[in-house]
């Protein structure tokens, strides 16, 4: 009985800490603290956003393009993500100068796996839904909604992001560019 309660509590605490991590990350991006954001990315991060295709039911396995070999919106590591931040910081990256107003909403957070176990988790796989809103200059709007599959690894008392797969729920991207982090 007590052991069961313990296990339940460990799961809750883990879920809470993962959610707090994701919310804090969203705040960093919305508040344009890009350097703080880079600091919570594992050096070996893979940041991947596949393309989504309309495929017949018997080939639905090919709906999303594959990491490491196909075209994608993003398929990169920390070096390029850092360069993207540096580009914004130049002040002449016209796609984000003047800088856009961006709001990240994160919801439906589910822990899919915890290794070795919830209480002493070193690696967790987390699925969530996101909504990213951008207002640019006066009336330009972009709304991106989709799913994220994240792998977090323990880093001292906190977490670092080691892998992120972003599934944008759009076939033809309804945005002129992707200059926000998802």
């Amino acid at each position: 009985m007590l052991a069961e309660l313990d296990e339940g509590l460990a799961g809750l605490l883990l879920a809470r800490s993962v959610e707090q991590f994701l919310y804090a990350e969203a705040a960093m991006l919305d508040e344009r603290r890009y350097r703080d954001w880079l600091a919570i990315l594992d050096d070996g991060i893979r940041y991947f956003a596949p393309l989504a295709r309309n495929m017949r039911r018997d080939r639905l396995g090919e709906e999303y393009t594959r990491q490491g070999q196909d075209l994608a919106w993003f398929d990169e590591g920390k070096e390029t993500l850092t360069q993207r931040v540096e580009q914004i910081e130049t002040g002449i990256h016209w796609a984000e100068e003047p800088v856009s107003r961006v709001c990240h909403m994160v919801t439906n957070v589910e822990i899919l796996s915890a290794v070795p176990e919830a209480r002493h988790a070193e690696t967790v796989e987390v699925r969530c839904r996101f909504l990213v809103y951008r207002n640019r200059l006066q009336d330009e709007e972009m709304l991106l909604i989709g799913k994220r599959l994240d792998t977090l690894v323990r880093d001292g008392t906190g977490w670092k992001l080691r892998r992120r797969e972003i599934r944008l729920d759009q076939n033809v991207l309804q945005a002129k560019n992707l200059t926000v982090f998802l």
């Binding site: 990256h93 796609a95 002129k176 992707l178």
Partner: protein, 463 residues
């Protein structure tokens, strides 16, 4: 529609002598509709690549202008381009992006159309009509109701092109000597003919800009280099350091005024310049390209060859021949919206590490998330936006840079060059745009060509 086009004063829209263009052609609905009628139903349009449909019965859905078309390969290996609209009541017969099928069955009333030469004599033929006997009393003339098929389809080194005009000149005549530059993009890096394929997946995205901004930019606008200063400061080239590319040999702009195509690149030359390392960050890739260079030197010998960075084939296909090596198509959606498509080209026989490095360079450079292209998209969309108002529309865009300074290019038929920074290429583009918009008949290409001398050995490195 035709009335629309006839009422336009095309020569007022594009003032060739004065080097200006009316803003209306970037924002007006009437101009847009006339473009659909006069350009997109006639010109040769890029519709895809054979590597998208390698097997019999494979299909890939593409666009020609504002219309959806299906690119298919029949059982005999023949490639066809069919209008994706049921002949009964217009429903889209194919709503997948790609796949494999022998028959397209319309979801609405169930008419089915075969792509397979064994099932039907003509591609796209109507082969199945529910209640044919009971409701049509067997009287429907099925032979007359196949899917509309592009009468002209041409394959060129893997690329697939189509035109709705049965009288269109041959694709090779349409391309003229621009073909040499297309070859550079489509040939193997060692100079062997063809052999390139597209990477799985096509980036497709909507941009609030007139569609012509993309081909006009890619035809040879080196003047806008300054807009990419932020990415140059960061440095994303495959050799590291500042800049978004590696050091290039001197380039010039070359265009084909009678054809409306143009590029940034080198004039034809007959010997291969020394190898310049371009992949210093990737030793394995660097070594591969060093070997490829040696093969290229041996293979091409003293034959004329060209190189190019970026170019446009009128009206809306652009391509990048160096890395990142891609094809970009600007599909018109409305006067103020386009849908851009980007394909990544690789050598089918290159090692995975080489193609992966090329793909990654593409993703950080081009497309909506490209650190270079994202800024172009911002410029094109707000240039469109700020040209819409009545006062703005009374003004004209200025294309006067370098007027009167063009000179012929030895070794190319009907081509001129005008230095690295000029608007010569854009002028050639809008000149061809006017030809189409006036509804000029196809002229035999020979009549439009200015004969050029063969390249002289002494001048081959000029420019």
């Amino acid at each position: 529609m035709a009335g629309n086009a006839d009422s336009l004063d095309v020569d007022a829209l594009v003032d060739r002598a004065g080097g200006t263009v009316a803003r209306g052609i970037f924002v007006d609905q009437a101009v847009f509709e006339a473009e659909q009628e006069r350009i997109f139903t006639r010109a040769w349009l890029f519709v895809g690549h054979e590597s998208l449909i390698p097997k019999p019965d494979d299909f890939f859905v593409s666009r020609m202008g504002t219309e959806s078309v299906v690119l298919t390969r029949d059982r005999g290996g023949q490639v066809h381009v069919l209008l994706n609209s049921c002949t009964h009541r217009g429903m889209k017969v194919c709503r997948y992006d790609q796949g494999n099928t022998r028959v397209f069955t319309c979801p609405y009333h169930g008419w089915s159309f075969a792509t397979d030469g064994k099932l039907a004599a003509t591609p796209g033929a109507l082969v199945g009509v529910p209640h044919f006997d009971r409701a049509y009393h067997g009287e429907l003339k099925r032979d007359d109701w196949g899917l509309v098929r592009a009468p002209r389809v041409a394959l060129y080194k893997g690329t697939v092109w189509a035109s709705w005009d049965p009288d269109a000149v041959e694709l090779t005549d349409y391309l003229g000597d621009m073909r040499l530059y297309l070859d550079f993009a489509l040939d193997g890096r060692d100079g062997s003919p063809g052999g390139s394929v597209v990477v799985e997946g096509v980036q497709k995205w909507r941009v609030n800009a007139n569609w012509k901004f993309a081909p006009e930019n890619f035809i040879g606008d080196m003047y806008h280099d300054i807009s990419h200063r932020s990415v140059d400061l960061v440095g994303i080239g495959p050799s590291g350091g500042r800049g978004r590319r590696d050091n290039l040999r001197p380039r010039t702009t070359i265009c084909f005024p009678g054809l409306g195509h143009g590029l940034i690149g080198e004039p034809p030359h007959t010997s291969e310049p020394p190898y310049v390392p371009a992949w210093k960050k990737y030793p394995e890739v660097e070594e591969y390209f060093r070997q490829v260079h040696e093969r290229r030197v041996a293979l091409l010998g003293e034959r004329p060859r060209v190189t190019m960075s970026v170019g446009t084939i009128f009206p809306n296909m652009s391509f990048h021949g160096r890395q990142p090596r891609t094809i970009a198509v600007a599909h018109p959606i409305s006067p103020t919206e386009m849908e851009m498509w980007r394909f990544c080209l690789i050598d089918a026989d290159a090692p995975a590490a080489v193609n992966d490095a090329a793909r990654h360079y593409f993703l950080r450079y081009s497309g909506p998330a490209g650190m270079t292209e994202s800024d172009d998209l911002e410029n094109w969309s707000y240039a469109t936006e700020a040209s819409r108002g009545p006062i703005a529309r009374r003004q004209r865009y200025n294309y006067q840079m370098g007027m009167g300074h063009a000179r012929p290019v030895p070794g190319l038929r009907g081509a001129v060059e005008n230095g690295e920074v000029t608007e010569e290429n854009a002028r050639a583009y809008y000149s061809r745009w006017s030809d189409f918009m006036r509804g000029d008949p196809w002229t035999p290409p020979a009549a439009e060509y200015v004969p050029m001398p063969e390249p002289a050995r002494e001048t081959e490195d000029a420019g």
